[in-house]
Amino acid sequence: MIEVIDLSFSYNDRPFIDMNFSVKKGEIFGFLGPSGAGKSTLQKILTGLIRSYKGNAIVNKTECKSYKDDFYENIGVDFEFPSLYEKLTGRENLKFFGSLYSKKLRDVDELLKMVGLQNDGGKKVSEYSKGMKSRLNFIKALLHNPDILFLDEPTSGLDPNNSRIMKNIIINEKEKGKTIILTTHNMVDATELCDKVAFIVDGNIKALDSPHNLIMSKGAAKIKYTFMDGKEEIRECMLGKTSEDAKLQELIMSNRILSIHSSEPTLNDIFAEVTGSVLQ
C-alpha cells in the first residue's frame, strides 16, 4: 500500500530524511520519535504536501510528487490540531468537508454516534470542548471511507474513556482492511495498536519491527524482589536465570521475600536503548 524507497529530503541543503520501508494493506504502522525527528515531514511527503524529495514515496500505487486530483479521494488525514469551522455546527462541518469528495460518504449520524457526539451534532464547534473537537476531527477523516488513514496523535488530549473508544475505532478500521499510519509519542498506544513501528530519530529509522519483536529482541523479562537485610533492599534478576541467583534461592528457602514482581521491558525502554532518548 505504501512503498518508500531511498527516500531523501533536505531542508536548506541539510539532509533530513533518509529512509526505506513499506506498509502492507490492512496494517497499522506507527512512527515514533521525539519532536523534530522528522515524523511530520515524512507525513507531509506521504500526503503529497512536500514534493521536492528524492527517491520514491508511493502511496496507493501513486508517486506522491506526481499525484492527480483523485489522490485524496482515498486518503483520510487527521492532523493533531483540529481543522474545523468554529462558526458551523459539527454536522455542518462534516457535511461541508464530505461534499469535497466524489465518493459515497459514510452516514454522518452513525459517525457522530461512534465517538459519542450524537447529541452534539447540532452545536456550533466553538461550543465544543478540546476533546470533542478532537473526536469530530477524527471522524472527519473517516467520512469518505478512505483506504489509507494518516492519524497524528489521535488520542492526544482525550480522557481514558474516549481514548479507549478512539482506539477501538482504529482497530475496527484496520479489521475492515484500512491501512493506517499512526504518528505518536504515546508508546502504550503504539504497543497496543501497531502491527509495526518505526523509531525515527534525526530523519532516520533506527529500528523497525512489530512492538512484540522489538521488545523481545532487545530485552528480556526480569523479576524484581525486595527483602529485609537490616534495611529493605531491592534486587533484580533475569527471569530465565532465577536458579542462578543464590540470594534469591536463600530468601525463598528462608521465606524472607517481602515482595516479588516480574516485568517486561516496555517499548519506551526499547526506544531509549535504541535511540538514546526517552519519549514519555
Binding site: E73, I75, P82, L84, Y85, K87, F97
Partner: protein, 235 residues
C-alpha cells in the same frame, strides 16, 4: 476526476466562502459598502456642489469608487482566509480533492472576478463622469489587481485576524497614488511611481495604454514579491 467535478468542488468551496461572510455581520456589511458609497457619491457630491466646487474632481471620486469594491472584497477575502489559517482549514484543504490551488481559486480568484464585474456595474451605475465602457473595463482589471496585491500583503504580513485588521488599514496607504495623480504636481507624482495605484489614476486621466501596461507590470512585481511568503503562510 472529470472537469465538471473539479469545477463543482470549486463552487462548493466558493459557496462556503459566501456562507462564512453571511455568518459574520462585519464582513457582510463591508460587502455592501461599495453600494452605499456609490449612492452617496452619485447623489451626495452633486448636492454638495452648492457649497463647494467639486466638479474637477469627479473623476477622482469615480476612481475612489472603482477602487473601493476590490478593496472591500480583498478585505473580506483576507479576513476569511486569515480565519481559515487560524482554524487550520487551509492546511486541511491541501489534503482534500479541492487541493491548495482549488482553495486559492475559490477564495481569492473567484472573489477577484466578482470584484471585477461588480466594479464595472458600480461604475456604470454610480459614475459621476462619462467614462467609456472599455476604459471602465480597463480600470476594473487594474483595481482588481490592486485588490489581489492588498490581500496578498495582508495575509503575508499578518499573524492572525486581529493583526489583519490593523494591516489592512495600513495597506490603504498603497492607494495614495490615486489622489496623488490629481492633487500633486507632475514631478511630485513620480515619487509614487512604485505604487500601481498611481498608474491606475494616470490610465484613467489620460486613457493611454502605456499606463495600463505599466500598471500590470508593476502589479506583477508586487505579486511576485509577496507570492512566496503568501503561499508559505497559507500552507
Amino acid at each position: 476526476m472529470n472537469f465538471a467535478n473539479s469545477y463543482g468542488k470549486l463552487f462548493i468551496s466558493f459557496k462556503q466562502y459566501l456562507i462564512q461572510i453571511t455568518k459574520d455581520a462585519m464582513l457582510f456589511i463591508i460587502c455592501l459598502a461599495p453600494l452605499m458609497c456609490g449612492v452617496l457619491f452619485k447623489f451626495g457630491i452633486p448636492a454638495a456642489e452648492k457649497l463647494i466646487i467639486l466638479e474637477p474632481y469627479y473623476l477622482l471620486f469615480d476612481l475612489l469608487l472603482a477602487v473601493l469594491t476590490p478593496m472591500m472584497i480583498s478585505y473580506v477575502s483576507s479576513m476569511v482566509i486569515l480565519g481559515d489559517i487560524d482554524e487550520g482549514i487551509t492546511k486541511y484543504m491541501a489534503v482534500t480533492p479541492l487541493g491548495k490551488s482549488g482553495y486559492l481559486i475559490s477564495k481569492l480568484v473567484f472573489p477577484l472576478f466578482a470584484s471585477f464585474f461588480i466594479t464595472i456595474i458600480v461604475m456604470m451605475i454610480f459614475s459621476l463622469t462619462k467614462i467609456d465602457l472599455m476604459q471602465i473595463i480597463g480600470i476594473s482589471i487594474l483595481t482588481s489587481l490592486l485588490g489581489l496585491i492588498m490581500s496578498m500583503m495582508v495575509i503575508s504580513i499578518s499573524a492572525n485576524k486581529v493583526e489583519g485588521m490593523a494591516v489592512i488599514k495600513l495597506s490603504g496607504i498603497t492607494m495614495i497614488g490615486i489622489p496623488a495623480a490629481f492633487l500633486t504636481a507632475q514631478n511630485v507624482q513620480y515619487l509614487f511611481f512604485f505604487l500601481p495605484s498611481l498608474w491606475v489614476a494616470k490610465f484613467s486621466i489620460e486613457y493611454s495604454l502605456i499606463y495600463f501596461v505599466l500598471c500590470i507590470a508593476l502589479s506583477s512585481v508586487w505579486i511576485l514579491f509577496f507570492i512566496k511568503k503568501f503561499l508559505k503562510k497559507i500552507y
